[in-house]
């Protein structure tokens, strides 16, 4: 730490968000430091201005309106997602008569269906030469393949999905950000087309809080750890599947 506490520490001090130990040290510094007291004063002023400009009642009303609007949009999206799931299911019935079952709970990486903790599953559907198949674990991808992701949830959850290529480029599948989905099978909107030349891809599926908080940098980091041979057991909310090139 430099001579003064960081702005982050002072911001946390201003709302009593520090541990007792750090708070005591910081308060001792602030007592003798005019500039830090001025900074804290400016935060207090900012708080008063904020509450005057956007009073809590107004903010909460705006929030409720926004949430209602998002729920309406989500319902609309859900209809198209359900339609997509029906089409995907139909394709599965035509192309693959019998799906391989993946018994049990917990994390399994590398099977056709990556199962998330709690019985949630992820499958990848590949479109190649107009044929749609569920991508088996050992199958490879090539340039031009279209990839769609189908998730099966045993309870309502927020989901976000990214593809990371060997060069570390991260592409989010869901352009409008994380989606809140009810229990059941959902073909997620959007698809990824494998670039030319083909680069190995990693599919990253996050559910729950991870879907809301994970940054692209963290997605890239997690993939790098998997590439280095680590199993990402620490976070069952984030699942990674490798999609290697032919």
């Amino acid at each position: 730490m430099s001579l003064h506490p960081s702005e982050l520490v002072l911001e946390r001090l201003s709302v009593n968000d520090l541990s007792r130990e750090v708070r005591e040290v910081t308060e001792r510094h602030v007592a003798d430091c005019l500039s830090c007291r001025q900074f804290l004063g400016s935060l207090e002023t900012a708080k008063e201005e904020r509450l005057r400009e956007v009073p809590p009642e107004m903010f909460m009303a705006n929030l409720a309106r926004r949430r209602r609007r998002e729920e309406r949009l989500a319902r609309g999206r859900l209809l198209s997602v359900v339609a997509g799931a029906v089409l995907a299911a139909a394709a599965m019935v035509v192309v693959i008569p019998r799906l391989r079952e993946t018994p049990g709970q917990g994390v399994q990486v590398g099977t056709d269906q990556v199962r998330l903790k709690g019985g949630t599953g992820v499958t990848v559907h590949r479109r190649r030469d107009e044929a749609v198949t569920i991508l088996p674990a050992e199958a490879r991808i090539r340039a031009g393949d279209g990839l769609r992701v189908v998730v099966t949830l045993d309870r309502a959850a927020v989901v976000d999905v990214w593809f990371v290529d060997r060069q570390g480029r991260v592409d989010r599948l869901l352009e409008s950000g994380p989606m809140e989905l009810p229990p059941g099978q959902h073909a997620l909107p959007g698809s990824a087309v494998v670039d030319t030349p083909c680069l190995d891809l990693w599919l990253v599926v996050a559910t729950g809080e991870a879907a809301t908080t994970l940054t692209e940098a963290e997605v890239r980091q997690r993939v790098a750890r998997v590439v280095d041979g680590a199993r990402d057991d620490a976070s069952p909310e984030v699942q990674i599947r490798e999609l290697g090139c032919e």
């Binding site: 003064h4 702005e7 909460m60």
Partner: protein, 169 residues
């Protein structure tokens, strides 16, 4: 999370979230939109927030993510003159890094990838030391040093282009 808990969270932390979003996005309208998005996510995932060790860190994490998304959506940021007044108040003496670098980097934040953005925010906005950034991100100190060196170099190039009236690339 109940309605009253959410309202209380807004009363306590709303100004901090708004301040951070404005500093990252430099567009009050876009920032206000992101503030609402942060609190919508808080509404949905309030349980995680309630047990978080640091409420501010939790909110900032979500705010950063929402801001990065907003930057990615808009792509082109409003890149105004460097001669604008800097942020109202900063704790004097804390700026071990030159303020000008910070101004330039935050102004052009949307141009960097997320990993560099994250380092930029921790260093220039939160004023964490290199060691603290390494601890916070789990990256090696060497990686953090490289990112900071890259940011300084880019700041220097961008500043030279701006001051020389060149098109910023």
């Amino acid at each position: 999370m109940t309605h009253s808990q959410l309202e209380e969270a807004y009363r306590t932390y709303g100004h901090l979230v708004a301040r951070r979003c404005r500093r990252i996005l430099r567009d009050p309208t876009a920032a206000e939109d992101v503030v609402q998005e942060v609190f919508v996510r808080l509404w949905r995932h309030g349980d995680a927030f309630l047990v978080a060790e640091s409420k501010v860190a939790w909110l900032y994490r979500v705010a950063d993510r929402c801001c990065f998304d907003a930057l990615a959506r808009t792509k082109a940021r409003v890149e105004t003159s460097l001669h604008e007044a800097p942020e109202a108040v900063t704790a004097a003496g804390q700026v071990s890094q030159p303020l000008e670098d910070r101004e330039v980097i935050l102004r052009f934040l949307g141009r960097f990838d997320d990993r560099v953005k994250q380092v930029a925010l921790l260093y220039y906005l939160d004023q964490l030391s290199q060691e603290e950034i390494a601890m916070h991100t789990g990256w090696s100190r060497q990686t953090v040093l490289k990112k900071l060196a890259y940011l300084r170099e880019r700041a220097s190039v961008l500043r030279a282009q701006l001051c020389g009236g060149e098109e910023v690339r």
